[in-house]
Symmetry: C2
Subunit: 365 residues, 2 copies
């Protein structure tokens, strides 16, 4: 079943005539066309029982074609009102819809008011849950892209480790990683790359800067790439020179916490079970107060999407879900350590997409 | 008058009880607090005649305080419904508002529906025009930030020119620019930096890549930085080695076009006059078909904001407006050239914020 026919089945079940999708991520998900139209109108109109169309700026029509969208494409020029163009395209397909499902968590009030003006006898339903439910389960094509995105994330950590040297700054290492990835064809990181060293590792949201790497530092990399529209997100923490005993203890605790959560992953388990397992290990080791965030988050077209892996989320895992597992200990007087992998729920267990080793890597100083 | 009192005057004139502002750019504009809250609720509630408040995630309360916001701050925890917290804060100030102005071009349908649930007898007006009108005129503090952002943009072009050498790639030069800016304290570029060389300059939206600089290339830099929340945006095109006669002719045409538009800038002139002046110069030189975009765009907290400088926009310029002037010629068989400055409309004319020289710079090959 294609994404379009899945939407059509939903419309049929719910007795809704049409769905109009305008969030760039969801337009990409449904149509395969990846674009950031800014204030211009880009959308996919899917009907219960008529041919769908993409509405886009005229200059993007060739790109929609090239993206593999197999149905109608309606272009609008900057000099015309894009909503009139939508109305025309709908009218060409017969009677106006009496109900349209929209993305209420994304569509602006202004756009809804425009839709209410052109579709005067139409009611508006919510498409958000349906789209979330679809996107949370990844199909084989999506998993293939996520696997490659994860391979590039592994590669990025390798590059980062190679670049570590006494006196180099966090920013120098960061730029070397991104430069090498760009040369390998990666156009976009999935978020601002993080390279933190020494005491800065103790901040879960620190900013890389001019700090120079010193012997005895832990160095934390948190990064990801976008591959064919799909994101990866990995964290590794490595040692520069021999670590102290407490550094080692913190590292091994996080590693065990992460492993404990990964081992639980399979269909039927709740998101909260994973968070609680990892948090239990960290609390038992006496570092509970220093694990200050949720265990993980869904991953796909967005770097943060459903489901949220928290200690209270009763969401039940199913085959095909993809998310991060990323426990951390942020000890202000010792060091920070975070280890993060991207995992897929498989039929009987788990597939870990990111494969960079988790045995503590000690870079010779 | 502060931004808060300006909103209050508007509410008073329009007989609206309150305004609720949730777009991060506008929250920053009104409150001074710069944050991207993602799905969490961040907003400023301004009343006609009561004390305003910022609503934000609890952990950000100290940051709002540090940003200089002088009024009430209401924090909400992840475990509570942020809208209940808003309702409580409003109730504490007395009767519920009978009307609230919202940003219809940004607020989602979901959020409006939540507001309609908690404010059941309230009507919702549009705040968009008022905010646009306020933001389009920059005050002295804003101009001071824009001037410094422009100085860093000049510096970035200088760095880029220094980095040019035979065989270096576009990406190598790009990374060197961003690295040096980061060392100087710039955390964020205002958009993806563009370094294009040779035939790639003929694409107005090209992507920097592995192409190696060659003698005879034109090299186009388009970049900007964010300084204290304000953006710059500059383009310069320079020559590597002696340019051909036609390269020179195209360069001098764009330079003259840009100068012609800048010379017209003063209060009372229409946006379209500027576009037409620059376009006239390029058309007269026989390159009209190769200038394929508008002349410029407003600049401030956003890198693209009001006003749009197009050939049909009758918008009248006023003192304190800031925008780009950026004509270009994109000749697929010869070269592309674009020259872009950031300008302020002054009482009697224009102040050009970006100052990197516009005489054709020839880097010795």
């Amino acid at each position: 079943m294609t994404k379009v026919t899945e939407i059509q089945s939903f419309l049929d079940e719910q007795h809704i005539d049409a769905a109009f999708i305008t969030t760039p991520d969801n337009v990409f998900y449904i149509s395969g066309f990846d674009s950031e139209p800014h204030e211009r109108l880009l959308g996919v109109m899917v009907f219960k029982d008529k041919e769908p169309f993409v509405i886009c700026p005229l200059m993007e029509v060739p790109d929609v074609l090239a993206s593999g969208w197999a149905f109608d494409i309606v272009g609008h020029e900057d000099t015309e009102d894009a909503w009139d163009v939508v109305l025309d395209a709908v009218k060409k397909r017969g009677a106006l819809p009496t109900s349209i499902a929209i993305e209420k968590s994304h569509l602006t009030v202004e756009r809804l008011e425009r839709m209410q003006t052109i579709f005067q006898n139409t009611t508006f339903a919510n498409l958000d849950n349906q789209l979330n439910q679809m996107r949370v389960i990844k199909d084989e094509d999506e998993l293939a892209n996520l696997r490659i995105a994860a391979q590039f994330a592994d590669k990025a950590i390798e590059i980062g480790c190679r670049e570590i040297a006494e006196g180099k700054t966090e920013l120098e290492i960061l730029m070397a990683i991104e430069f090498e990835l760009k040369k390998q064809g990666i156009q976009k990181m999935s978020f601002d790359t993080m390279v933190l060293s020494g005491p800065k590792t103790a901040s879960p949201h620190g900013t890389p800067g001019d700090r120079k790497i010193q012997k005895g530092d832990f160095i934390l990399f948190d990064l990801g790439v976008v591959y064919n529209g799909y994101c990866s997100d990995i964290t590794r923490t490595v040692a520069f020179g021999e670590p102290s005993d407490e550094h080692r203890k913190i590292y091994e605790t996080v590693k065990l916490a992460e492993q404990s959560a990964i081992e639980l992953v399979r269909p039927g388990v709740k998101a909260m079970d994973l968070d609680q397992a990892a948090r239990g290990v960290i609390t038992d080791a006496g570092y509970g107060q220093y694990f200050t965030h949720r265990l993980g988050h869904g991953l796909g077209i967005s770097v943060h999407e459903f489901p949220s892996i928290t200690g209270t989320n009763e969401f039940v895992l199913e085959e095909g879900m993809v998310f991060t597992i990323e426990p951390g200990i942020y000890h202000p007087e010792v060091t920070g350590v975070r280890i993060e992998d991207d995992v897929v729920v498989t039929k009987n267990g788990v597939e870990v997409l990111t494969k960079f080793p988790k045995e503590l890597q000690i870079i010779q100083a």
